[in-house]
């Protein structure tokens, strides 16, 4: 199948619109959540005082790095997704949510 102009234009529009949407949203992110997420990406020890941070690293951090920024408005949704994907217990979900969006 040959590449059609329509396909190239469609893909370009999707790429550009998603990129610009993301840029707009990033400006509205909560500063505290940004700091916490950035800190969570650092290697840490199991003796870290915050159980939420520790559980974030022990579960979510096993497969991927922490996002640089996360809006508190979506923290609950992201955690519910992770609860299913990483088989988090209800207690783990609460602790990580409290850590991400206090």
């Amino acid at each position: 199948m040959k590449i059609t102009v329509l396909q190239i234009v469609s893909l370009t529009i999707v790429v550009l619109s998603l990129g610009s949407l993301s840029a707009q949203q990033q400006q509205a992110l909560h500063a505290d959540a940004r700091k916490k997420i950035a800190a969570s990406a650092q290697p840490m020890t199991p003796a870290a005082p915050d159980p939420g941070e520790q559980k974030f690293q022990a579960n979510c951090g096993r497969c991927h790095t922490a996002p640089e920024q996360i809006s508190p408005r979506i923290a609950g949704t992201v955690l519910r997704h992770m609860r299913v994907r990483a088989s988090l217990s209800a207690e783990d979900e609460r602790d990580i949510l409290r850590y991400l969006a206090p």
Binding site: M1, K2, I3, Q7, L11, V14, V15, L18, G19, L21, S22, Q25, Q26, A41, Q42, P43, M44, T45, P46, A58, G61, R62, C63, H64, T65, P67, E68, I70, S71, P72, R73, I74, A75, G76, T77, V78, R80, H81, R83, V84, R85, S87, L88, S89, A90, E91, D92, L97, A101
Partner: protein, 334 residues
Amino acid sequence: MLLGLLLLLGTSALPAQNVPVISGGLGFLESKNNGAYQFQPVVTPQFTSPIGKDLLFESRFYLGEGVARKDGTTGPYQGTFFKFTEYLQLDYIATSHITFVAGRFLTPFGTYNERLSPIWIQNLQDSPLIVPIGDPDGSSDGAMVRGVVFSKPTVQVNYLAYFSVPTSNSQFLSSRAAGDRIDLYFPRTRVEIGNSYTRLLQGTQTNSIGTHFWWQPWRFPLQVRSEYAHGPHAQGYWMESTYRLSQWRGQDSLVGRLEPVFRMQQTFRNSPGPGDGLPSASTQQADFGFVYHLPHETRFSSSYALKFSTAGNANIWDMSLTYRFLFPAWRGHQ
């Protein structure tokens, strides 16, 4: 329509933190396999929305265009657009330990397909060779139960079991099969071991088993991941290790953003298995590469692979640029 109504009703009463999410990855992948170039722009949009207190709707799609020369290394470039539904599922969190999943889900055989396959997670562009063992389709249509048996500071035990039905629709390819997986995770040492099993329940009924071992020590940014799988016509393993140089002036320094990657893998062909997605002959492959973590959720990766096979040796060069996006689907409550 029913799903739309559920979403509308369910999200209207959600707390402020539960705004539906649009996320996923954008990427431009380039590969050179024995002189034949392929270019692939890809987008993998994902939509996640809680519905009420205990339900979650999630979906992810893969849209891309593979561009390559007509005859491999000669001829004009041609593009092939492809799209498929990776998952489209409804999750019901019944209790603290049990979640029911219905719809189309990533087949949970081994670890790679479900946990490492997104383009913004994978360290190397190509999946390990043994990934098709357990399910060449990658996704299954059916139902699954999963959860955590218990979670203690010393050990965590996870389980899942699923059943899938055959579907021939090109967007929802699936086979009749049943399987399970159990994982043991030791948080203090960050060691995980697990076992997967799948039985194909159509045509010639066959069994596939797999086991995995992961180790990610707390003290330094090393990751060791490995899997072994045995299917009806082949068996094999892969072992991948990464070490992010973040101990050199922090992870945001010029050097600290670099993460070298090494993967070794072998497959052993026992008998011909047309259509099983595995190499047609026994293969050994070593991949050397790196991921460079750029700011703003962007990653650049490059790798070189030496492939030895009785069906033909190959040099494979890969490069990719990926971007991960994650934002609310709408404003929601403040």
